[in-house]
């Protein structure tokens, strides 16, 4: 338990916290008496008292606290002593005045003044303290040195990056020249190369190729090997995959890979195939983009088998799409028409699965293939015949009816608190005639006892039932009226106050409310 009294008198405040009931009671009685019956002298005494400590837990603590009057010499025992007579208090007050006039050495400064004298370092007063200026000055010097050191190290880093010492040369023209050279190299690498077919004849070699050979690019690359800009390399005609023999070899390899497809392990197949295809072109095409020029200097678009290193997956898909067309043509010439149809369907399904980004699992893929095959579809149709539209409607109606009946059962069980015999209080209430909230309360108490079979109820439980049924709640005034009438009585259950309807209440209920 927690008790607190706070006495205020003309600006002075006295607070007493306690967990002891008797202490607080006696103290409160004392000050209550002072308020309504004590003399004016006691009030005067109260004005001069200021108790600093408010964390008092007992009367002993209260007696030991430091009581100081504004004049500095008021005795706390006099305040605690209930028998303190007024003459003594008056004598003390007169003595204090004498002490104040004589400026005695025992004079103690008021607590409030001492607190004010404590230095308070806020933002404004900080500048006014002399020692702070010294500290600030010293810190300023330290910070300046640190900034100088940081600035020097940054300048050294800048010069190191340009492979020239800016500090040693100390020549701004030389530094700017280095930067300009670097920018030129960067621009030369990042600029877009013109189409070879559009180049004038002066910019072309004797064999028709342009000046942007791999050798020139490599020489530029060596100028700024540490550059982060993307490097665009234009391959020479001799290094391009336009050679028909290489393309034929590649197609043959792809054919072999396609034939050795194992659908049960499609993920490994794709990675393995892409890796093998990539190996054929990695050594020859080690750059992001490759432009293939034919002998006339025009871009050769007839060869689709170009694989880049970074976009390996996408371009390898293009390779597969191109090669699979040829594979299918060869298969059509070699195999029968029926087998061709099956293999085409299977291959097409496999390609769709390989090139699609969906996360279909292996089982799903297999089931899709099975369904796509006409014979498989027939088998499925035989096993699970498709119902007619009327049959489908009847089935859906039956399912809906089952769901509705189940929902109704669930709702009823929720309203009747899980009992099949019980009925909802709202419907129960309709059987009775009532006019006031007090009647609803009594009906509900009867309902709880006789329908819900609960001996007693709390205000919370009965209000929840009433609110769900009527949207209203009752307060203690209604309960008090019913208790006075003898229709409701209180019951103590596990240290909690509960209520139940009395036999008189039940008789009254039967005589009044039943229709």
């Amino acid at each position: 338990m927690y008790y607190n009294i706070k006495i205020k008198c003309d600006g002075c405040e006295f607070s007493l916290d306690s967990s002891n009931k008797l202490i607080i009671e006696s103290e409160m009685d004392k000050y209550f008496a002072s308020m309504f019956g004590a003399s004016e002298e006691f009030k005067a005494q109260m004005k001069e008292v200021e108790i600093v400590d408010s964390d008092i837990k007992s009367i002993e603590d209260f007696k030991q606290i430091d009581v100081k009057s504004q004049s500095g010499n008021c005795q706390k025992d006099e305040l605690l002593n209930e028998d303190a007579n007024l003459e003594q208090i008056q004598d003390n007050i007169s003595e204090e005045k004498i002490i104040d006039d004589n400026e005695d050495e025992e004079y103690q400064a008021p607590v409030v003044e001492a607190a004010v004298a404590t230095p308070c370092f806020d933002g404004d007063s900080l500048d006014k303290v002399p020692c702070v200026d010294l500290i600030k000055e010293e810190k300023y010097i330290q910070n300046t040195k640190a900034i100088d050191a940081l600035f020097t190290s940054n300048k050294e880093n800048i010069s190191d990056n340009n492979e020239k010492s800016f500090r040693t040369t100390n020549n701004i023209d030389e530094f700017e020249r280095i930067n300009l050279d670097t920018e030129k190299n960067t621009l030369a690498e990042t600029e877009i190369k013109p189409d070879a077919s559009e180049l004038p004849s002066e910019l072309k070699n004797d064999d028709g190729s342009d000046f942007y050979s791999s050798e020139t690019v490599d020489s530029k690359k060596s100028l700024n090997s540490n550059s982060l800009y993307p490097e665009i390399t234009i391959s020479n005609e001799q290094d391009s995959p336009s050679n028909d023999n290489e393309v034929d070899d590649l197609i043959a390899k792809v054919e072999q890979e396609i034939k050795s497809i194992d659908i049960s392990n499609s993920s490994e197949f794709s990675d393995d195939l892409f890796e093998k295809i990539g190996k054929n072109k990695k050594e020859e095409l080690p750059v992001d983009e490759e432009l293939v020029f034919d002998k006339n200097g025009a871009i050769d678009v007839s060869k689709d088998l170009i694989v880049s290193e970074k976009t390996q997956e996408l371009n390898s898909a293009d390779v597969l799409s191109a090669t699979m067309n040829e594979v299918e043509k060869n298969n059509q010439n070699e195999l029968d028409k029926q087998e061709d149809l099956k293999t085409e369907n299977l291959n097409q399904a496999k390609l769709d699965d390989i090139f699609s980004d969906s996360d279909i699992t292996l089982d799903e893929q297999n089931t899709q293939h099975e369904i796509q095959h006409p014979s498989d579809i027939e088998e499925i149709m035989n096993i699970n015949p498709v119902p007619s539209y009327k049959e489908y409607l009847e089935q859906s109606k039956n399912v809906n009816n089952k769901i509705d009946s189940q929902n109704e059962q669930n709702n009823n069980s929720a309203l009747t608190f899980g009992s099949d015999d019980n009925i909802d209080f709202k419907t129960y209430l309709e059987n009775y005639s009532y006019s006031e909230l007090i009647d609803e309360f009594l009906i509900c108490s009867y309902y709880i006892k006789n329908i819900l079979k609960q001996d007693c109820f709390s205000m919370k439980s009965i209000n929840s039932i009433l609110y769900n049924a009527t949207g209203e709640i009752v307060d203690m005034s209604i309960v008090g009226r019913l208790i006075e009438l003898g229709y409701i009585k209180t019951v103590e259950v596990e240290d909690k106050r509960k209520y139940t309807i009395t036999p008189n209440g039940e008789e009254y209920f039967a005589s009044k409310y039943e229709k």
Binding site: M1, Y2, Y3, N4, I5, K6, I7, K8, C9, D10, K21, I24, E25, M28, Y31, F32, S34, M35, F36, G37, K43, M46, K47
Partner: protein
């Protein structure tokens, strides 16, 4: 835990009484009320 606070003021003197003990608050206020009534009766 509820806390009950009662503040009484007469002239310059003010008493603020706070507690979480509802019974004690009730008893104390009742006791004070009776004392005030008695004083009124005596004065009359």
């Amino acid at each position: 835990m509820p806390q009950y606070v009662f503040k009484m003021k007469k002239g310059e003197l003010e008493i603020e009484f706070s507690s979480d003990d509802a019974d004690f608050v009730e008893q104390q206020l009742e006791k004070w009320r009776e004392e005030i009534l008695k004083k009124h009766i005596q004065q009359d």
